[in-house]
Symmetry: C2
Subunit: 412 residues, 2 copies
């Protein structure tokens, strides 16, 4: 049966078709019946493409074809993906996707529609590319209360930070290299400002805690202001700087969620994750810490997850697999990040900075000064004790009368 | 409904009951109905145990109770576990297990029985303790052709090797410490000789390649003969010695599978996995390399996987989830390990060993001599090129006329 349609023939879409066709024989064995891709929907022409005969421009062809059971939406972005997805689910077709923007914005709503129509909305590819993470959290770790999830969720920024750490390349040079290698887009904002990672941690938090976490409720800061000086101080003190998305259960059924650069101790496996690789650490009350590692983006790795979801839908043709979370209108569900405790790396500039040490030590109590080779007289760096961030800010405001606060990076 | 029974109240059994009861409210939400543990079957008495009222000694009580939907078999070993499992499946109850010995010996048979009775036989806990690995391979990576799986599958041996590498403790002292800490049993044979890891790689290989791989067809060597000298040479050359179970597709639809110590390059994440932790690397033609890491044993981590499987069965009360592989009677399916290519670390002893270098170099072609601090005159260590193991053996047999072969360890 030709029962699959792929919507969007870009990088992930073409990878999905390629991988499905390559492994079709074993896929059909796993599904237990003959399945294939019938349509590839894209507004563009692909003359000479080996699958040209399956190309259509009108999504309605898919909608109106009752043979189609599964639609792989790999367009990205909110529209027209949202409308297509909704219509497909409402017409009794399962939808699988790599579209993190859409899942983060509309996941609860689309999951509800899927259940109402006894079909599936699956999105293993939306977080961590090919790394299995949605099913493991939803199924394998279902017996746990999830204590926290934190991860390197964006390969572009991890590539840039790796170049800064390993080769002392500055941010602009590393970004340029990432763009030349095709790891970063011409407009790199969504990656370097942490927006992409934010969508992913929202999806993981929604899944783990059962309530939709919206990106606009999550504080997000990127890596554009990290300097090689910060990298050097971190390195010297046994840390690597990584862009980390994290979500954690706190009191009263609420959560904290934040995306920001962090100093990660080198004894933590996350600190050893280099280049475009992603890794996600999950802590459960039964399992302890588990970590998932792999290529978080790219044509075939992402296609791997899309095709895995297609197979799962084809294996459950008349059944809604219970992935679900509630919608959430409570703006206090994600607690304000300034009320959360963190230890903080701080770098300041002041004339004869060392003379400020007694005042700083009195301000923060027990803190740790850290060094870098060639630290100038007018610079000082330290790591605060773990304190509520508002309190750290108050103290730094006081310190700013006698010094310029150059960097503030949270510890993991 | 009291629809779950736990068979065996040892470490994993008591952890399963503890975790299930602790998270019962959220488990019931996930299942979508009220579920609980009705029976705990064990021949022993547990006076004063908080769940004493659920204890029964006779497994038939479970079998004959139609309310029981899921049986968690956490006895371990082949019998009576096999008989209990078979009877439970035949009477229409799903079975979940942490019993790697049973799955490795009888997996194909029990999966067949489960399908015939439209129930499930799930075993996420049988490999890697709480680490999600069975479902990820079976579902998330289903779109891939699996190229290889290799992993640190036994926490006891990894603890011992870590002590040898990090603290220069010798094997006997490290084993004694592992026993004192409860990581190794009084009779450590199954761990240190690699048998436990062997069962696990058989399960992963059966799942990934669709045909049962029996432990007796897999060459298995343990870590008892590794010396601190070997550790030092490896360290010096940029490797860590790890006990690795691996399975790989080769030509003609056959596989190679082996458990043995290996020199693992420190650039490989597996080399950084220390202590009782496990990690499993999977390579697929779509996803590339992914790695799964966590606690591979222990009461609650293993219970985490058992409870996850219980939940999955409770969510699919009238459905056999299609995990399956064929039985296999072809003794040539796992190719002879001596016909497989490896690079090999070799340590020899001979008077004035350095004088043998020209002869050895001629024998092997381009090889690498490696050093350790304080290498005595009568010792030499080298890494061979990648060659069929039979050929390496022939050359070493020749070399053994002029030197004693003290160690042979494959590279990963």
């Amino acid at each position: 049966m030709k029962n699959v349609a792929v919507i969007g023939y870009g990088v992930v879409g073409s990878g999905t078709v390629e991988l499905f066709e390559k492994n079709r024989e074993s896929i059909n064995q796993k599904v237990g019946r003959d399945c294939d891709i019938k349509y590839i929907v894209d507004l563009r022409d692909f003359p000479g493409d080996p699958f040209e005969d399956r190309m259509v421009k009108d999504f309605n062809v898919v909608l109106e074809d009752s043979e189609i059971e599964v639609v792989a939406e790999v367009i990205g972005g909110i529209e027209p993906a949202f409308t297509f997805t909704k219509k497909a689910l409402e017409s009794g077709k399962s939808v699988v996707t790599s579209n993190k923007a859409l899942v983060a914005a509309k996941g609860a709503e689309l999951l509800k529609i899927a259940h109402e129509h006894n079909v599936n909305y699956l999105f293993e590819a939306s977080v961590g590319g090919g790394i299995p993470i949605i099913r493991p959290i939803n199924k394998c770790l279902a017996g746990n209360t999830i204590e926290q999830i934190s991860g390197i969720l964006n390969g572009t920024t991890n590539f840039i930070l790796t170049k800064m750490i390993r080769e002392q390349m500055d941010f602009d040079a590393a970004l340029k290299m990432a763009q030349e290698l095709g790891y970063a887009e011409a407009d790199p904002t969504a990656d370097v400002e942490g927006e992409d990672a934010c969508r992913k941690i929202c999806i993981l938090g929604s899944l783990a805690y059962g309530k939709h976490i919206y990106p606009e409720d999550v504080h997000c800061s990127g890596i554009t202001r990290i300097t090689l000086d910060d990298v050097a101080y971190a390195e010297n003190a046994g840390y690597a700087i990584k862009l980390i998305g994290s979500v954690k259960a706190v009191e009263d059924g609420k959560v904290t969620a934040i995306v920001c650069p962090r100093l990660v101790s080198k004894s933590n496996l996350l600190a050893t994750v280099d280049g475009v690789y992603n890794a996600i650490s999950v802590t459960g009350d039964g399992v302890g810490d588990v970590l998932f590692y792999g290529q978080g983006a790219g044509k075939l790795p992402t296609a791997s997850a899309v095709v895995g979801d297609i197979i799962d839908c084809l294996k459950h043709p008349d059944r809604s697999i219970m992935i679900s979370w509630e919608d959430n209108t409570d703006k206090s569900y994600v607690v304000k990040y300034k009320t959360v405790e963190n230890a903080m790396y701080v770098r300041i500039q002041a004339d004869n900075a060392d003379q400020l040490k007694p005042a700083i030590s009195e301000m923060f109590g027990k803190l740790t000064y850290i060094e870098r080779a060639g630290r100038p007289d007018n610079e000082l760096a330290f790591i605060t004790p773990t304190m509520v961030e508002n309190v750290i800010d108050e103290k730094l405001a006081e310190l700013s009368h006698s010094a310029e606060i150059k960097s503030k990076i949270r510890l993991l």
